[in-house]
């Protein structure tokens, strides 16, 4: 469970992006975060995903106060608890599909288990097994986003954080990607998506509006 208590984020004395946000996200929720540009949606997601630190308040993750965690501890959380999917896919162009998905496994604390088998299992689920050794540059947008989802899933995280995952895709491909997220949520994963797209938000169970650094759930 994710609990944000009075979370604030200031970049300078005069620039407050998030202002005393209280938010609780239960396990298995399917949430869309919406709001105008500059509202603080990505900053909120960065704080949830331990990419950024809050300047005030407490962040409780599964009962642990992670607000004061150091870089190493946050990196471990990013590796084990969260899976990230970003708008421009976030893939390394010189690597193959297999190598891109393998990245989180390189930094996993517990390196037991067969990496190849795990990756093949995920690619089978995402219908990309035949592309396993292809360079990611040779894939379509939809396929690349599926590779990104595969990478996000490889360490079996509890929470998937997606920042405008369909932003670079056409409608049909975007729907395919959203279907994958829905399926993941049905399997019990918490899925949090930042989006401007109403159609994407409609797929989710809960919509959180962020306006001027404050949150309003609907």
């Amino acid at each position: 469970m994710i609990e944000l208590k009075q979370i604030s984020k200031k970049y300078t004395e005069h620039t407050t992006v998030l202002n005393n946000i209280d938010l609780t996200i239960k396990k298995g929720e399917y949430i869309a975060i919406m709001g105008p540009s500059g509202a603080g949606k990505t900053t909120l997601m960065n704080i949830i995903g331990c990419i950024d630190s809050c300047t005030g308040g407490k962040y409780i993750l599964d009962g642990n106060d992670v607000s004061s965690y150091n870089d190493k501890e946050k990196a471990r959380l990013r590796n084990e608890k969260f899976g990230f999917v970003v708008q421009d896919f976030g893939l390394i162009s010189s690597m193959s599909v297999f190598q891109n998905i393998q990245i989180p496994l390189l930094y996993r604390k517990n390196k037991k288990g067969n990496q190849k088998e795990k990756i093949e299992e995920i690619l089978k689920k995402l219908k990309l097994l035949d592309k396993i050794n292809d360079n990611v540059n040779n894939l379509s947008g939809g396929q690349r986003q599926r590779v990104a989802i595969g990478r996000a899933l490889v360490n079996s995280p509890d929470v998937i954080l997606a920042d405008k995952p369909t932003g670079a895709l056409d409608q049909a491909t975007g729907k395919e990607v959203m279907d994958i997220f829905t399926e993941l949520n049905n399997e019990g994963k918490t899925v949090i998506i930042v989006t401007h797209d109403e159609q994407v938000a409609k797929c989710c169970n809960k919509i959180i509006h962020v306006v001027d650094g404050k949150v309003k759930a609907m």
Binding site: D71, R76, N79, E80, S94, Y107, N155
Partner: protein, 384 residues
């Protein structure tokens, strides 16, 4: 293993930049090696200069006029008399030396000791010395003994006594006889050398030299003693008397000069060369460092998207620091090998290693600081 593969992939992807870095580091380390050698030479040079000022007694040397090509004529008998008269005037401090070559037939000496070869005859460099030479330059024999008084003054013995430089000790021992003629009585300490302030003002190493008593050269050419004559005295009138002795033996165009003046000229020349080389070194070194650090910063900028993705997947900033630093450290160590090979002492190698670690620290400090200031959220933004 996968981590190593990723590292290799990163290097391959930017092989031109890393190759340029590698070549620059080779140049930097060779420059450091050269400068360290100069500084070691400086230390040696000072030691030798100090030996010339021992006991604060003034040292003088005989020098022939620059435009004179006359070899001083002198018979063997006159050589002995001349030597005796000179030493009487300067309290037996006079000495001399002469560099020549010696024909040897033995096959036991490796080619690297060869001075030259002519018509299948092998010639090796020999230094003829008189009494006081070893004492004056504070040269010591590590094995065996120095020449005795008899060795310096008599030639009637069955064997000619020789002292060898330390490089010979792999091949000969004290007591061995070379060419059935030359008996080894001593082997000098390692790194024995002297400063020839007259001719070329260089430190002359004796490690590969064969040393004989001057009397064997005097048999052919008695005037050899005056050619590199040096003596010490505080009595200026004895200098005048020595000049008159030289004139008496009709050694034309020889003057007596105080070593101090020459030493000061040598010092100035040496320091001018040293200063110039050090300035040149620092200029080249600074330019190389600037270029290397700029290249590293550029590499980090190029790779920051990739690093951002790694950090999103659970890598820490320190992991990325290792990814930046490891190729640099490995390539630097490999680049230092040519200069290590040129090191001729353990001390030099240790200094070289310390310099290498210092340089690696300097070149990594600024780029890593730059990298550590970046946050993942910044990297995410910059990707867009």
């Amino acid at each position: 293993m996968t981590y190593l593969k990723n590292l290799i992939r990163l290097i391959k992807k930017r092989k031109c930049q890393y190759m340029l870095f590698f070549l620059q580091m080779i140049v930097v380390f060779l420059m450091i090696q050269y400068t360290l050698n100069l500084l070691v030479d400086d230390r040696l040079f000072h030691q030798k200069l100090n030996s010339l000022n021992q006991n604060k007694i003034s040292t003088y040397f005989a020098t022939q006029d620059n435009d004179s090509n006359e070899m001083p004529e002198c018979s063997f008998g006159e050589y002995a008399e001349f030597k005796k008269e000179i030493n009487k005037e300067c309290n037996n401090t006079a000495f001399s030396f002469s560099v020549s070559d010696l024909l040897l037939k033995t096959n036991e000496i490796p080619k690297r000791f060869l001075e030259f070869e002519e018509s299948h005859n092998r010639y090796y460099q020999v230094t003829y010395i008189s009494e006081n030479f070893l004492k004056f330059y504070r040269l010591k024999v590590e094995q065996g003994r120095e020449f005795s008084r008899e060795n310096y003054n008599e030639t009637s013995k069955k064997y000619i006594s020789v002292i060898l430089g330390s490089a010979f000790q792999k091949y000969f021992q004290v007591g061995n006889v070379i060419d059935k003629q030359y008996k080894i009585v001593g082997i000098l300490e390692k790194k024995s050398s002297y400063l020839d302030i007259q001719l070329n003002s260089k430190i002359v190493s004796l490690d590969k030299q064969i040393i004989l008593p001057m009397i064997y050269q005097a048999k052919e050419w008695g005037g050899c003693y005056v050619n590199h004559l040096m003596f010490s005295t505080e009595d200026k009138s004895s200098v005048d008397r020595i000049k008159r002795i030289i004139e008496k033996y009709d050694f034309k165009d020889y003057n007596i000069q105080k070593a101090e003046t020459q030493i000061n000229i040598l010092k100035n020349d040496f320091y001018t060369e040293l200063s110039f080389m050090i300035v040149l070194f620092f200029t080249c070194f600074s330019l190389c460092l600037f270029s290397i650090i700029s290249m590293l910063l550029h590499l980090i900028e190029e790779q920051k998207t990739e690093f951002g993705i790694y950090m999103l997947c659970g890598a820490t900033k320190m992991d990325m620091c290792f990814t930046i630093a490891v190729p640099i450290v490995v390539l630097s160590i490999i680049a230092s090998f040519p200069s290590m090979v040129l090191c001729n002492s353990i001390f030099g190698c240790v200094l070289q290693i310390i310099c290498m670690l210092l340089i690696i620290t300097i070149i990594l400090a600024f780029p890593l600081q730059y990298w550590l200031k970046k946050s993942i959220s910044e990297l995410k933004k910059e990707r867009k």
